[in-house]
């Protein structure tokens, strides 16, 4: 088990590109932290620096209060699960799982018992003598997990481990990984670009953009109180509605004269409203024009115009909806205000 501490970690590639700006955060013992962000945001680079697969340009990385900047990946007491599994194609599942132990000069009978234990935990016992090419995607994924758990490391690193699986399997493996991590209580860092994975799996989410941390928080904090318009639009599907508005007379005004909700301050703002924080009433105060109704079974998405700006509303399946004019109300305390210049939350 381990605490991990990143202190002003920075990565500049040989060509001068700064992939990660100085970044600091701490991960508590047993915590499941998800690094999420769009491609090229530096999340994988950050993970690979923790793993020791990339050099750290500046800053201090410690695992359990031991500075590991220049420690070999094999000696950091970590295990990593790769996006394409990186199984050794010529080795059986048994050998794949046991290879890390074998290199650490652990006696063969002990390796065998540890491999058996890991295989049992991951339902791989029947497949131990197969080669990776004879396994399905989900099974390969499990072997990759087995290779990680068998070593009983202090820290798990996951680099987009589910992105090669189909949607159904991804859903299932998401739960399995989370359950396994809970059971073993191993500190984990998980990199993904999928905000659903981030929301569902994380104890804490770190949202990255262009090599910077946009926000660190629990899934609920990230979702309900995004620190910037970037986080607001990246997390959640459909994303938070962001519209231009103005503060005046203790109210949020759009379209010059429609008051949406009470708020203090003056001047132009960007207003963020989650699609599900809106109710449809015939006698509600705000005009909304529905252009398209997206039927999703359990709920409906209404895409339309609010004060001539694109706006999406999420309603339950019991709310009837047809294109055309309707009236809406914003649920209380559901408005996020952002600075229109910097995009930061106010």
């Amino acid at each position: 088990m381990a605490q991990v501490s990143l202190n002003n970690i920075r990565k500049i590639y040989a060509n001068g590109y700064e992939a990660v700006t100085p970044t600091s955060f701490d991960i508590a013992d047993g915590e499941f932290v998800v690094l999420v962000g769009p491609s090229g945001c530096g999340k994988s680079t950050l993970l690979r620096m923790v793993a020791g697969l990339e050099d750290i340009t500046e800053g201090v990385l410690s695992i359990n209060d031991r500075q590991v900047n220049h420690v070999d990946p094999a000696d950091r007491d970590i295990a990593m699960v790769f996006q394409n599994y990186a199984l050794y194609p010529h080795m059986t599942v048994r050998k794949n799982i046991g290879y890390g132990l074998k290199n650490r000069k652990i006696p063969a009978d002990m390796i065998e018992s540890k491999v058996q234990e890991a295989a049992k935990m991951l339902n791989l016992t029947d497949y131990l003598d197969r080669k990776p090419s004879q396994l399905s995607g989900g099974q390969r994924q499990r072997v990759a997990m087995g290779r990680a758990v068998v070593r009983d490391p202090a820290l798990f690193l996951f680099d987009e481990p589910l992105s090669n699986l189909d949607a159904k399997l991804r859903h299932q493996m998401r739960i399995e990984i989370k359950a396994l991590q809970r059971r073993l209580g191993v500190t984990s860092i998980y990199v993904t670009h999928d905000q659903v994975e981030a929301m569902t799996m994380a104890d804490r989410i770190i949202v990255l953009n262009e090599g910077r941390i946009e926000q660190i928080g629990t899934p609920a904090e990230i979702y309900h109180a995004p620190a910037s318009t970037f986080v607001a639009s990246f997390m959640g599907a459909p994303p938070m509605n962001l519209i231009d508005a103005r503060l005046a007379d203790g109210q949020i005004m759009i379209n010059g004269n429609t008051a949406l909700a009470p708020a203090q301050g003056t001047g132009a703002i960007t207003l963020g409203i989650r699609p599900e924080d809106v109710e449809i009433h015939d006698d509600a105060p705000i005009h909304f024009h529905v252009d398209i109704v997206e039927e999703l079974g359990a709920h409906r998405l209404l895409h339309g115009q609010l004060a001539d700006q694109d706006f999406t509303i999420h309603v339950g399946k019991d709310v009837a909806a047809t294109p055309g004019a309707t009236r809406i109300a914003i649920k209380p305390d559901c408005c996020c205000l952002f600075d229109p210049e910097t995009g930061k939350a106010l």
Binding site: P73, N84, H90, N103
Partner: protein, 295 residues
């Protein structure tokens, strides 16, 4: 469209297509062209030299196969009496195997260094190696001989093999193959605690199996058939290889004796068999190695 499909369906009787017949004629002629010399060799090994001298190649299979085989394998030739067919076969084997294995090992290690280590000027080094393809042995035979001679390598297996094993071809093929091995495998191995040597032996070498087999065939046959370099570097008769020794026997043609047709052709046959066996044995791997990449 409709017409076209109708005609194909409505023509169940197979007519002889002249173009097809021509194709087969060409193929058959080609096969005969390649096979007849082999058959002549085979036939000559079964008759006595006198019969061959008198009648030339025939369709009859004689009874001298055993005698000719014995002659070819154990009868000494030359002045020293040290180069029998057996000794030449062994020498050829050593040359073929040493040449092939040496080239594979050197090529793999060079490619490993070029692909996996952050060498300065790695690309330049690679292209320098590659340009040696333009300088085959025949071009540099005098300096090569000079060096081998000064190192005292004449009439040794080392001298026979080592100067030939630097191989741009093998380096090139292994480099291309290693570059197609996913980066993550290296990283996974690093995290699993495998150093460069372990990674090479435990992971890269087994992954290269098919490639190694393909290289082995090419290089073994190439090494087996070497003529010029062994002729230069070996003067002791007990160092002669088969390819070189056969020629020595047929030299007798100019003399007044009856040439040893049976023995010479038997040696030729023996010289053909190992490369053929290697090709047959490794054939499926060979195709796989050069076309597939199983990762």
């Amino acid at each position: 469209m409709t017409n076209l499909s109708n005609t194909t369906i409505a023509a169940p009787t197979r007519r002889i297509r002249w173009s097809r017949l021509l194709d087969h004629a060409v193929l058959i002629a080609g096969s005969l062209f390649l096979l007849i010399p082999l058959l002549i060799v085979l036939q000559t090994t079964t008759t006595t030299d006198v019969e061959t001298m008198k009648n030339g190649p025939q369709l009859v299979i004689g009874s001298q196969f055993d005698d000719n085989l014995k002659d070819a394998m154990v009868k000494a030739s030359g002045f020293s009496g040290e180069n029998t067919g057996m000794s030449m076969l062994i020498n050829s084997m050593i040359l073929g195997l040493g040449f092939a294995l040496g080239k594979i090992i050197i090529g793999m290690m060079a490619a490993y260094a070029l692909v996996y280590f952050r060498l300065r000027f790695a690309t330049l080094a690679f292209w320098l190696i590659f340009t040696t393809l333009l300088l085959p042995l025949e071009v540099r035979i005098l300096p090569s001989y000079e060096i081998a001679q000064k190192l005292g390598l004449l009439n040794t297996y080392t001298g026979l093999i080592v100067p030939l094993i630097a191989s741009a071809t093998a380096t090139f093929f292994f480099r291309q193959f290693f570059r197609s091995v996913p980066e993550e495998l290296v990283e996974a191995a690093r995290i699993d605690g495998a150093g460069p040597v372990k990674f090479f032996i435990d992971i890269l070498a087994p992954l290269s199996q098919t490639m190694i087999a393909a290289m082995f065939i090419i290089m073994f046959v190439y090494g087996w058939n070497q003529y010029l370099w062994p002729t230069m570097i070996t003067t002791d008769e007990d160092m002669y290889t088969l390819v070189r020794g056969i020629k020595q026997i047929t030299q007798d043609l100019e003399g007044t004796n009856i040439p040893e047709y049976g023995r010479a052709n038997m040696l030729a046959l023996i010289a053909i068999l190992p490369p053929v066996a290697v090709v047959i044995f490794f054939q499926s791997w060979f195709v796989k190695g050069l076309t597939e990449s199983d990762k």
